[in-house]
């Protein structure tokens, strides 16, 4: 099983994702340069957090044109697993691989803190180790995580069980107070229709070791590993 972590100019959680796959999961992992187009042999591609191209025009707007992204699209269309974390999620949105868009946090401030998210669907490659309703304590760190989409899209996402994570309070209640950025329906993470492309604002790589205060993010990695093992 091999993971790939894409490096866009300005990515800055690339090393963190790499570290967790290699040192915590003890799985094989390689970096993929944004100009590379050969994804042969990879099972799961991680689009890491950061500020690709400085996020200067719009988050993810420029990165989506990187040569690697057309390869990632092909990879996904053949059923490969793709996870976009934070900036990676924003890139997936800009690339149209997931629906919707990100607006600035309603506070207009960058927010870095632990939040609670509720698992809404445990029948995906990303959550098979979790159970529906489970509350995960995972950090966020972003300026623009205020998810928005038109009504029709939201209806579809909800109807098809594609909202995977939702901001909630400690008890799992989805409340306005527990929504850190204004995202519609408290959405923290969504999938494509086939469930092999996953975008989320929280950083599972930041909560995969005890010493960092939470291992709740590891549920997501464990799910991926389980899924890939089953498939193999």
């Amino acid at each position: 099983m091999k993971f790939g972590v894409v490096i866009f100019p300005g990515s800055n959680c690339d090393m963190d994702s790499f570290y967790v796959i290699k040192e915590v999961l003890k799985e094989e992992v390689e970096y993929i340069w944004h100009q590379d187009t050969d994804l042969e042999g990879f099972d799961c591609i991680i689009l890491p957090g950061g500020f690709s191209y400085g996020d200067y025009l719009r988050c993810g707007a420029i990165a989506r044109f990187s040569p690697v992204m057309s390869a990632v699209r092909d990879f996904a269309s053949k059923g490969g697993l793709v996870i976009g974390i934070c900036n990676g999620f924003q890139i997936l949105l800009e690339a149209g691989m997931l629906p919707g868009a990100m607006l600035r946090n309603t506070s207009l401030r960058f927010i870095c803190k632990f939040v609670n998210v509720r698992v809404e669907n445990d029948q995906t490659p990303w959550t098979n180790h979790a159970h529906k309703g489970m509350v995960l304590r995972i950090p966020i760190a972003h300026n623009e995580g205020n998810y928005t989409a038109d009504e029709e899209t939201i209806r579809r996402l909800e109807g098809e069980g594609r909202v995977i994570l939702r901001y909630c309070d400690e008890k799992g209640e989805v409340t306005p107070e527990s929504n850190p950025n204004g995202a519609m329906q408290n959405i923290a993470g969504i999938c494509n229709r086939e469930f092999n492309v996953f975008g989320l604002m929280p950083h599972p790589e930041r909560s995969s070791e005890d010493i960092l205060g939470s291992t709740d993010g590891k549920v997501i990695w464990d799910s991926v590993v389980e899924y890939l093992n089953q498939k193999a």
């Binding site: 025009l57 707007a61 607006l103 600035r104 309603t106 207009l108 928005t148 038109d150 204004g182």
Partner: protein, 84 residues
Amino acid sequence: MEENSEQVRYAVYITPKRGVLDPQGQAALQALKALGYGEVDDVRIGKYIILSLKGDGAKEERVREMCEKLLANPIIEDYEVSME
């Protein structure tokens, strides 16, 4: 950088789509009201992009293309183009 006679300039105006939340605009509205500008009813904040293009000929089509592809996000933004 250098300006020459053959340069044309286009202005692109990008605005948040109607119905899409504009957190920045809302914040500015509140701040203006707090500063005593009670007459302000609404604020929308978008982008103003100035493109300098080489050569001549009709460019507007190309600029629209740039907007569609890169400069604006059609899900949340509208745009207009005008020659300067």
